[in-house]
Symmetry: C2
Subunit: 228 residues, 2 copies
């Protein structure tokens, strides 16, 4: 009999829900896998006006085979939350695989797992990885040893197929892919800074500029305090 | 000032969560759009072991500009639920756009909106559309008049970009696409029956065969009773 694999997804207010709902959908259709979504105290969390409840308590999770950390605007606040980062460090210390989607790699970095390691991240957050000693990689799916990271948001779906193939073999990943009809045909080609129309990239940069400067300042202050 | 557009997503136990969380993530990043997720009585719903709470009450929603119906294994039970279908029929009667993802098109069909119309559906459910007088289309994004339907599960993301372009223009859709880094690169090519390895398709067909026969029987019985 195949040994079940335990996957834990730590979530928090302000997570980008598709960072974990995408991978969750694929993992929940994979045989012999247990997926738990966990928050501090098991409290409900809100993400983009959706409320997720009946969550596991992160502090009560003994261990896991795969730690899967999603990103989102709320990641800066949870990096500043000592208890949350302590739990990530604790679970990550014994996990077989440390994984992340989007800016979730910054959380893995803050927990001390990315020093000298390559990791993916959302394109607009990637430049922050060196704050945690990590090497930013612009790949959509990035392996470095037992660390698997995905790029921004929707990259979580490509990432999770690679994860399922690693855990259960390519044939199982292909069955899940067929069941969820993952044969993408984006009607526009604007998913990356190097393919988006110039005016689209400029507009996004103008809109997100202030928040990007602010999060860099907060994370640099956090790193300084940590090493003081 | 741009008039806000109201989108309502009716959900139910056994919905495939990515059918609506994918489109929801894109719509929640689109300016001047209100997205509500609604269930009968506003009750929490469970989908693939995730619990969604703080939902709107479907029966209390006056009207909407866009009705977006997700699919999933639970769609057969809600088609058999007179109150649910009555609410879909009521909201759909005045909506500017009737839209669906995956087997959500069967719900639109049961509410009487697809007679003689083309619609998309999950590949393994598509053959059921004629029960409701609809013409099955194997496209990933299918327009017929004011009806926009998407194929299975992940097609909801391609579908919603087309919807945002229709509602707010292509430039806005491209900005949302860039923000969510939607530049898919599936590691395998198994997302459609005609591209999946033969043994993968056969294994999925064997596994889903009994449930497919069962849902056809239930929906045909429903249609017979309806027209008796």
């Amino acid at each position: 009999m195949t040994q079940p694999i335990n996957v834990v997804m730590p979530v928090y207010d302000g997570v980008t829900q598709l960072d974990f709902t995408g991978p969750h959908q694929f993992l929940s259709r994979t045989p012999d896998l247990n997926v738990r979504v966990a928050s501090l105290g098991g409290q409900s969390i809100t993400a983009d006006h959706l409320t997720f409840s009946d969550l596991d308590d992160l502090t009560a999770v003994d261990s896991c085979d795969v730690l899967l950390v999603p990103g989102g605007g709320g990641c800066v606040a949870v990096i500043e939350n000592e208890l949350f980062i302590k739990e990530i460090a604790r679970l990550g210390a014994t996990a077989r695989y440390l994984t992340s989607v989007c800016s979730g790699s910054l959380i893995l970095g803050a927990a001390g797992f990315l020093t000298g390691r390559r990791a993916a991240c959302h394109w607009a957050w990637r430049e922050l990885l060196p704050i945690f000693g990590a090497i930013a990689d612009d790949g959509r799916i990035v392996w470095d040893g037992n660390i698997l990271s995905g790029g921004g948001v929707t990259a979580g779906i490509d990432f999770v197929l690679a994860l399922i193939a690693e855990l259960r073999g390519q044939r199982v990943a292909e069955m899940v892919q067929l069941g969820l009809e993952y044969a993408p045909q984006p009607p526009f080609n604007s998913g990356r800074p190097d393919t988006a129309p110039v005016e689209v990239l400029e507009a996004v940069n103008v809109r997100t500029g202030p928040s990007r400067a602010q999060r860099r300042a907060r994370l640099e202050a956090w790193a300084t305090a940590r090493h003081a």
